[in-house]
């Protein structure tokens, strides 16, 4: 078994793999991250069967927390399998913070949080802002501290999909990209290492100051979002709101009462960055 471990924000992961190549890819992409002593979560990439391991290698994700019917992925997509496995552990197992399915960037100690369905552009927008004067905090999960309400970074590898790949290739250092994986269940995927300062400062929380619901592919628009709608959307965007019980309720209501929220529609990354920065000047 080949092994790899990395600390991402407050969570420590250990990945075990029957193949060497995914572990080498992970080690290269996570080179800037600290190595934890004791993992919070273990993810194993295992062959579907011994026979299949040689005929057509396929990867099953095994871990502390599992989805029963996750489909195996081809070995060429093992990096994606590892990332999915790590996300799954966080989504199903993390209890130390209120976990929001959202991206975030920071400026002046304050966090801009963006949430939306897959394809909304929240990941790309956080990556673009992370290249233009903001500190990247995470493109998938935002962790809210249950005591202070602060947003805690979780700057895992940025998972770029489809058109976002070319958009970021034009912006970021070529050496920080992982291999292009074509034809995955989510389309084309390429991972990007977050900026060095985002990883170095991943223990620094920020106070939530603005919440955006971006929506890609629609004409430019900004809309107020009432706190009740925000509450409904954010409880849906949290995988552990129910499991945390009263602590989750308290953290969620405080977040919503103290953070202004807007929905933004946009057609291009440049338009979204400009919209986000304009609202930040006005509201944060």
């Amino acid at each position: 078994m080949h092994e790899f471990s990395a600390q991402v924000g407050p969570a420590a992961f250990r990945i075990g793999s029957q193949w060497r190549s995914p572990v080498d890819q992970l080690a290269a992409l996570y080179a800037d991250y600290p190595k934890p002593e004791i993992p919070d979560f273990s993810v194993r990439l295992e062959a579907v069967s011994m026979l299949r391991r040689f005929i057509r290698p396929s990867v099953m994700i095994e871990g502390d927390y599992m989805l029963p019917d996750a489909a195996p992925l081809p070995l060429a997509q093992a990096l994606l399998a590892a990332e999915m496995g790590m996300n799954l552990q966080m989504a199903l197992g993390w209890r130390r913070h209120l976990l929001l399915h959202a991206s975030a960037v920071e400026k002046d100690g304050k966090a801009l949080i963006m949430t939306g369905a897959s394809g909304s552009g929240k990941s790309t927008l956080s990556a673009l802002l992370g290249q233009s004067g903001w500190r990247f905090m995470g493109d998938e999960f935002v962790l809210l501290d249950l005591e202070s309400g602060a947003a805690v970074p979780f700057p895992r590898l940025i998972s770029l999909k489809n058109e976002a790949i070319a958009a970021m290739e034009a912006q970021a250092d070529a050496a920080r990209f992982g291999p292009l994986m074509e034809g995955t269940p989510k389309g084309n995927i390429r991972h990007l290492m977050p900026p060095v300062d985002a990883i170095a400062r991943m223990a620094e929380p920020a106070k939530p100051a603005l919440l955006l619901f971006p929506r890609y592919g629609h004409n430019w628009a900004v809309r107020d979002v009432a706190p009740g709608e925000t509450f409904m959307r954010m409880t849906q965007a949290s995988t552990n709101y129910v499991a945390l019980g009263e602590a989750g309720f308290t953290a969620m209501t405080r977040f919503i009462k103290t953070t202004p929220a807007r929905a933004i529609d946009y057609q291009s990354g440049a338009e979204a960055v400009s919209l986000a920065e304009g609202l930040w000047e006005q509201l944060a």
Binding site: P227, G228, F249, T253, I256
Partner: protein, 100 residues
């Protein structure tokens, strides 16, 4: 005991976390771990009940001190419907009535 009016008692104020949120109210019910989103008149009804066991008429009297409830018969029917919903949600208990 037939004809006795049922009594209603809200779960204790300790059992619920109430957070008004711009036009609606969130209630976290500690016993069930469920979050309820409610609008008027539910928060007002729960506030008027306090921790006392009340008949519908007694509750109506309390509410009418603070709100103009209009026609009394209609108001009682509406209140009964809301109270039944709160009983279903587990936020209010329905107790055996007592003859006056």
């Amino acid at each position: 005991m037939s004809g006795a009016e049922p009594l209603y008692r809200a779960d204790t104020t300790d059992a619920m976390l109430v957070e008004p949120l711009d036009g609606l109210t969130l209630i976290y019910h500690r016993r069930s771990g469920v979050t309820h989103m409610v609008v008027e008149p539910v928060p007002q009804i729960l506030a008027a009940m306090g921790e006392d066991a009340l008949t519908l008429d007694q509750l109506l009297t309390r509410l009418s001190k603070d709100f103009d409830l209009g026609d009394a018969v209609e108001a009682k029917a509406v209140l009964a419907a809301r109270i039944d919903e709160l009983v279903d949600l587990g936020l209010v208990d329905k107790l055996d009535g007592q003859d006056a």
